[in-house]
Symmetry: C2
Subunit: 138 residues, 2 copies
């Protein structure tokens, strides 16, 4: 097992599009799969109101773990750490939802409408990444 | 999105064999992929000494997240929560490594040797599960 270079770690983070968001609630870990886009500085995603958003609002520190596992001897795993921030400005919401929609065309109609109407039906957020680590084999 | 029944959640946990272990270190989440077996009560796995084990020793509360994602509209995700415990008794270590080896035949030769010799080259541990939640669509 070896550490990935910062460039290798960032490349995997840009490539994946789906990862596991790690949060902390009352000292207990909470992990859920999310779709996201990474622009080199932040991880952007969106969610309907629910447990994930409640947890992140209560404890902003989060991480996103992504991996590419070809076999037990050929794999990479990266963790990006950062603070949760909600995006409220309509223009920013529209821009981010547009990027998510471009990457994930199967977003629900409600969310497609949101891109044009900027209705706050879903929460748009970012994890402002301040540390990236990665390890791998093969 | 709907909650899974306890039976559905346990079935996914038994089926997967690979999941993301969530831990907490200094108030920050830490997430890594692991192979495991689940016997209905505990999640068993093993690891060489390293960051994951240090983190779990310092803060025993952990979770394992597993999922089966067929599409954005057909997916399940389960989280099993519990406390980390190291397994020290040679007979127990041998038995658990045997189950892991049966499920994951590509475990390294070092670990295969460990099954017969019970040398403490790797750490054998369990997460004693006390809560399981699951959600899904489709």
């Amino acid at each position: 097992m070896k550490a990935l270079s910062d460039e290798e770690a960032r490349a995997l983070l840009s490539h994946c599009g789906m990862g596991r968001l790690g949060c902390v609630v009352d000292g207990e870990p909470y992990v859920v799969p999310i779709n996201y886009v990474f622009d080199g500085g932040s991880i952007y995603s969106h969610s309907l109101p629910g447990r994930k958003i409640e947890v992140l609002r209560a404890h902003r520190r989060a991480c996103l773990q992504v991996d590419r596992i070809k076999s037990d001897f050929d794999w990479r795993s990266v963790i990006a750490y950062g603070d949760f921030e909600e995006i409220h400005a309509p223009n920013d919401r529209r821009s981010i939802l547009g990027k998510l929609l471009a990457r994930f065309p199967l977003l629900t109609p409600v969310e497609s409408v949101t891109v044009s109407d900027a209705e706050p039906t879903s929460i748009v957020f970012r994890i402002r990444v301040d540390r990236i680590t990665g390890v791998g084999e093969g």
